[in-house]
């Protein structure tokens, strides 16, 4: 069922910008159309390109937001989410938890 829905109606997850649109709904409660527009504006693309894997592959590579293919050195999990939080100007729970666990703020200040 997941595959069928994905083909019929899904934005495409990390193949395109589906996870980014999902982030806006999860963190700010945006309806999908508003979330798509927000993400498109942040990425400086048209709303039509949100679900385009060709356009989004390049953007995700340039901004290192995580991609489907396992490219050495490319962001793959929490590192991608750090960048996504920054790009979309949102709080991501696990990113904040991770920062706390590694005492990120303390280390950043001590490096200043």
């Amino acid at each position: 069922m997941a595959a069928a829905h994905g083909i019929a109606s899904g934005i495409g997850g990390i193949r395109s910008a589906g996870d980014l649109v999902g982030r806006m709904q999860v963190s700010r409660g945006m309806k999908t159309e508003a979330a798509k527009k927000y993400v498109a504006d942040k990425l400086k693309i048209s709303v039509a390109d949100i679900a385009d894997p060709v356009v989004m592959s390049e953007i995700r590579e340039d901004l290192d937001l995580g991609r489907v293919n396992a490219v050495p050195g490319a962001a793959k999990g929490i590192d991608a989410k750090f960048r996504i939080a920054d790009l979309l100007d949102i709080e991501i729970n696990c990113v904040n938890k991770f920062k706390k666990r590694i005492q990120f703020e303390k280390r950043s200040k001590s490096n200043e």
């Binding site: 595959a3 934005i11 589906g18 996870d19 409660g29 945006m30 999908t32 679900a51 729970n93």
Partner: protein, 348 residues
């Protein structure tokens, strides 16, 4: 006269003429209008539905630009159910990288809050590790499943035994005690998983046991939202109608028994739900045009208001999908397309 292949709600194929499809669409819509007291579909929307069912294509999809966010119920358990030997984290990676998932959901194979409570310390590290390795928003999901709190599975007398004997007061007393424990379990598990880093909590098949379960879930949501104001809570319902098993439970002055999707959503939003999962049960002896028209009519009543995002439950036996273990893609994609394009969903 041309005939078009469709299916019954139980999944078996049938052939219908255009006029039969149109009649079933109108009848399904009327069922929703009559019972839910909602607005009917417009002529344009009925024609749109008709075209979806007349399409000879096996797989149909939304028009470009109308794609929506996919969320999942029981995410990782789906692999276990079909006996594919992968771990939960591998399941999530498959969803992320192979199935194009926009969001993910981690879940325990015994997919209810009560059985998760004693093993939550084992679920948390899995979630923590999954969060390091995946990118889309990751929910933790479970069902309120109030039935687990009455005998033989739980401590309290079973209202299913008391009600036929006319012991209504005793049944309600049992429900009241079940609610108390269920709320504690849902808040406990939800809190632990959010503290572990989950992006949100999914309450699946809410109100499956009727109004008492709906009330318990609403109270749990209210508590979680007050503890964690930024938490995302998705609530997927069990049915388009809340059964009045208790009958005298109110939330914010509204009696929960007998609520249809629009009112379910309003109440859920008041409690603090972030994403509402409207559910319309399949009627197996009606056709898919009938069932999908009914589901779309109910869905529109929710999405037309300026409210929280709506993700319809579109799976086995719900949202116009046949009640079979292996839903046919021709049926599922038609339901998907109809609910997104005409129902104007935010997601599925």
């Amino acid at each position: 006269m041309s005939k078009y292949t469709s299916r019954m709600g139980d999944g078996f194929s049938i052939e219908l003429t255009e006029s039969e499809i149109r009649k079933d669409i109108e009848d399904g819509m009327e069922s929703a209008v009559k019972h839910g007291k909602v607005e009917p579909l417009t002529d344009t929307e009925i024609d749109h539905l008709l075209e979806i069912f007349k399409s000879p294509d096996k797989v149909v999809g939304v028009e470009r630009g109308k794609e929506v966010i996919l969320t999942y119920d029981s995410g990782t358990t789906k692999f276990k159910r079909v006996n594919v030997s992968v771990s939960k984290i591998q399941s999530l990676q498959i969803y992320e990288r192979i199935l194009g998932a926009d969001t993910l959901e981690l879940a325990h194979i015994d997919y209810s809050f009560k059985p998760v409570k004693p093993i939550v310390v084992f679920e948390q590290p899995i979630l923590e590790q999954a969060l390091l390795m995946t990118i889309p928003p990751l929910f933790y999901g479970a069902m309120p499943n109030l039935g687990l709190y009455s005998q033989p599975d739980g401590p309290f007398p079973n209202p299913g035994d008391l009600l036929p004997k006319g012991e209504i007061k005793e049944a309600r007393a049992s429900y009241d005690r079940q609610i108390e424990l269920a709320v504690k379990d849902m808040v406990y598990v939800g809190s632990h998983m959010y503290e572990a880093g989950a992006d949100g909590i999914n309450f699946d098949t809410t109100a499956a046991a009727g109004d008492a379960e709906f009330y318990a879930a609403l109270k749990a949501v209210e508590i979680l939202k007050s503890k964690y104001p930024d938490i995302c809570i998705q609530m997927g319902m069990a049915s388009e109608f809340v059964l009045g098993m208790h009958g005298e439970l109110y939330y914010d002055g509204v009696r929960l028994a007998g609520l249809y999707p629009q009112k379910q959503m309003e109440i859920a939003a008041k409690a603090g739900v972030s994403i509402f999962g409207i559910t319309t049960n399949i009627v197996t002896n009606e056709t898919l045009p009938w069932n999908i028209a009914r589901a779309v009519t109910f869905t529109k009543s929710c999405t037309e208001s300026d409210s929280i995002p709506v993700h319809a439950c579109v799976g086995m036996g719900v949202g116009g999908v046949p009640l079979t273990l292996a839903p046919p893609v021709d049926a599922l994609t038609r339901a998907s397309k109809a609910l997104v394009e005409i129902g104007r969903l935010d997601g599925l």
